[in-house]
């Protein structure tokens, strides 16, 4: 089996590209991954997540920092000595080799005896249910099958850590769902330590034991999916995890664990803990499905439905509040264009962050962050 270790540690890993301006692609990422853990690096494109993965794989040298496997320093080792399996976004299967020889590439490079290679290859192919495709060439397989070959190839070398770079992003949505299930199953069966890069929050939420959100090369938050989902530390993480409504507001009353807020044409209360003073500018973050049509408690925001889309089970609507602010909401209720509604939000589901969001609520970039 794979080399046993208890922890893969990234210590202040920094990567600066030549001509990449003053801000590094990855800045002082510190992270400890326990054996058997599934950690997802999540962020928009350009956030440094792939750079982080390439640093761990040894495909890109660190500008500073270090990577350890327990006490052994690995960032100074060349890629081929690290024994980390990697699954690439575009699979990177060797087009001139059959599936069998693709999967057997790792064992062959390690100069394993022939029957041992054969054993590992058939075990890996069985795992991804592609045994009968062993003699095909990669071009003769579908995208999903190619992806499974790529996974089998990474697993066949019995790696200590598996690195996956957006492995599902080239698949259509149905296949992506299926493969997500297969990855989960594989991880459960093999207990492989996995570092997984994605820009898809759903993928990260469903697969990871812990998630790391990156932005502009800096770590924003790390923790179990529920924690990030329910309590994003800042408006960027909130925005990235589906808090589509980011609204500028002001604190009016602080007290009793309850914050009273007003914005353009709306008043809300929030149970967010944190240091807020009356009169302070804040950003309010609310998930579309936390907005309740009909109002909650004493929260009542009047709005007009501006756009509705039927999603099969739910309705997604864009509404305009009296003050001109636009909100996104999701509800089971049938909504009509131009309809007047009263909206409310449970104070526990209203996140408040210091600083004001920019006027453009479509932009994930927040003024308070710069």
């Amino acid at each position: 089996m794979s080399e046993s270790f208890s922890q893969l540690r990234l210590e202040a890993v920094t990567r600066r590209y030549a001509g990449g301006g003053e801000s590094p692609a990855l800045s002082e990422l510190t992270l400890a991954i326990n054996q058997g853990e599934f950690v997802a690096l999540l962020g928009p494109s350009g956030c440094g997540k792939t750079t982080a993965l390439n640093c761990v794989a040894g495909l890109v040298p660190l500008t500073s920092g270090a990577i350890y496997m327990d006490d052994k320093r690995v960032d100074t080792l060349p890629t081929e000595k690290r024994r980390f399996g990697m699954v690439f976004q575009n699979y990177a299967l060797f087009p001139h080799l059959t599936v069998r020889r693709n999967v057997g590439f790792g064992p062959k490079m390690r100069k394993e005896p022939k029957d041992e290679i054969e054993r590992q290859v058939s075990a890996a192919l069985k795992l991804v249910r592609l045994s009968e495709y062993a003699d095909r060439f990669p071009r003769e397989l579908s995208g999903g099958q190619q992806q499974r070959v790529a996974i089998a190839r990474a697993v066949a070398m019995e790696p200590s850590v598996v690195l996956m770079d957006e492995p599902l992003s080239n698949l259509d949505s149905k296949l992506r769902h299926e493969m997500r299930g297969e990855l989960q199953e594989l991880h459960r069966r093999l207990g492989l330590t996995t570092l997984y890069v994605t820009h898809d929050q759903e993928e990260a939420l469903s697969l990871a034991d812990r998630m790391v959100v990156l932005r502009n090369g800096r770590m924003q938050q790390v923790g179990p999916p529920e924690e990030l989902f329910d309590h994003p530390v800042n408006s960027f993480v909130a925005d990235f995890l589906g808090y589509r409504n980011l609204l500028p507001a002001q604190v009016t009353v602080v007290g009793d664990g309850l914050l009273q807020l007003t914005g353009q044409g709306f008043a809300l209360s929030s149970r967010t803990s944190g240091e807020f003073a009356p009169g302070g500018d804040v950003t309010v973050a609310i998930r579309p499905d936390d907005i309740v049509v009909g109002g909650v408690g004493d929260t009542a925001i009047d709005a007009v439905i501006e756009a509705v889309a039927y999603l099969g089970k739910q309705f997604e609507a864009e509404v305009e509040v009296n003050g001109g602010v636009r909100l996104h909401l999701r509800t089971d209720e049938r909504l009509e264009l131009g309809q007047r509604v009263t909206l409310g939000v449970d104070p526990r589901r209203v996140m408040v962050y210091p600083g004001s969001a920019p006027a453009d609520d479509e932009s994930p970039e927040l003024a308070s962050q710069s």
């Binding site: 081929e80 087009p95 490079m109 390690r110 060439f137 070398m157």
Partner: protein, 305 residues
């Protein structure tokens, strides 16, 4: 060409679409001037040359007289061997050196543009200029020999020109840029992630090259070899200026030129040209035959992008 549509076919299909269904496109007409040009200036002279080669001058024998003469005269026969002695090393050296150079140039290195220009410039110089330059530089009283003598490395000038070596050097100077540019473009078509993947699977940089890059590059190298070989095999100006033309060791092109312009034997010159062309075709066919046994599909990725 165009047959009338069957009676039960939809009547309103435009002629253009019906032609397109059969792979006929009016845009093909644009190829007409080039085809006429090729016919008048290449195919006709080539065919005429073949015709001439079978019609020896009076007293030159029958239908195959010229070919008999060619293969019975040692002077002529040896020119084939001598051309191979020049063209084969030149083409091989060009291809073999183009690989590491393009591998290095693929990385982002300092002064890459300057180096690229330096490697490609000899193409613009023309063979006569290169030959003349080499004659002066490498000659018995050239800079190279004088420097080496002054440094005490050699006592007598080394003979680098007026022999096959000189011709090979000239063919490398003029042929290498072609080989390099071709190889570099084939190499740029290989997805760098494939090598990265091989690395993560435990392959050292040498094994990444032998197991991944080289097999994917090999079909391109075969084409590169064919082109540089054909260029080298039909060498004339470099051989005339740098070779040992008077000493008997000459290439086919010189033999043909001598037949035409010294002996005024056009049919014999044509014969030599035809033989040159046939040998080139045989070599190209052999190399392409070997190439067809290699993997020659997409090198960017396994399947779709």
């Amino acid at each position: 060409m165009t047959t009338t549509a069957t009676p039960d076919a939809p009547p309103k299909v435009a002629l253009r679409h019906r032609l397109a269904e059969r792979g006929v496109d009016t845009l093909l007409l644009l190829a007409l001037p080039a085809s006429v040009f090729m016919a008048v200036l290449f195919f006709y002279p080539a065919a005429y040359g073949v015709y001439l080669s079978f019609h020896p001058l009076p007293g030159g024998g029958g239908f195959f007289g010229n070919y008999q003469a060619f293969f019975t005269q040692p002077y002529m026969r040896d020119s084939i061997l001598n051309t191979f002695r020049i063209a084969l090393p030149a083409a091989l050296i060009n291809v073999v050196f183009a690989v590491p150079v393009s591998l290095v140039m693929r990385r982002r290195i300092h002064g890459q543009k300057a180096l690229n220009t330096l490697l490609v410039v000899p193409i613009t110089l023309g063979t006569v200029l290169v030959a003349q330059g080499l004659l002066i530089y490498l000659g018995p009283r050239g800079w190279l020999n004088r420097t080496l003598t002054a440094l005490g490395i050699i006592s007598n000038p080394i003979q680098l020109v007026h022999n096959n070596l000189g011709v090979v050097i000239a063919l490398i100077v003029t042929g290498f840029p072609f080989a390099f540019m071709l190889t570099a473009s084939y190499l740029s078509g290989i997805n760098p992630n494939l090598e990265a993947a091989a690395g993560t699977l435990g392959a050292s940089s040498w094994r990444r090259f032998t197991n991944v890059t080289f097999p994917l590059l090999a079909p391109g190298l075969a084409i590169t070899f064919c082109l540089t070989f054909v260029l080298a095999f039909s060498v004339f100006p470099s051989a005339q200026l740098l070779g040992n033309a008077s000493g008997g060791a000459h290439v086919l092109a010189i033999a043909a030129a001598n037949a035409a312009f010294q002996d005024y034997n056009y049919p014999m010159a044509s014969t030599i040209s035809v033989i040159t062309a046939v040998i080139e075709l045989i070599v190209v066919a052999l190399v392409l035959g070997l190439r067809s046994r290699l993997y020659s599909g997409s090198t960017s990725n396994a399947g779709k992008a």
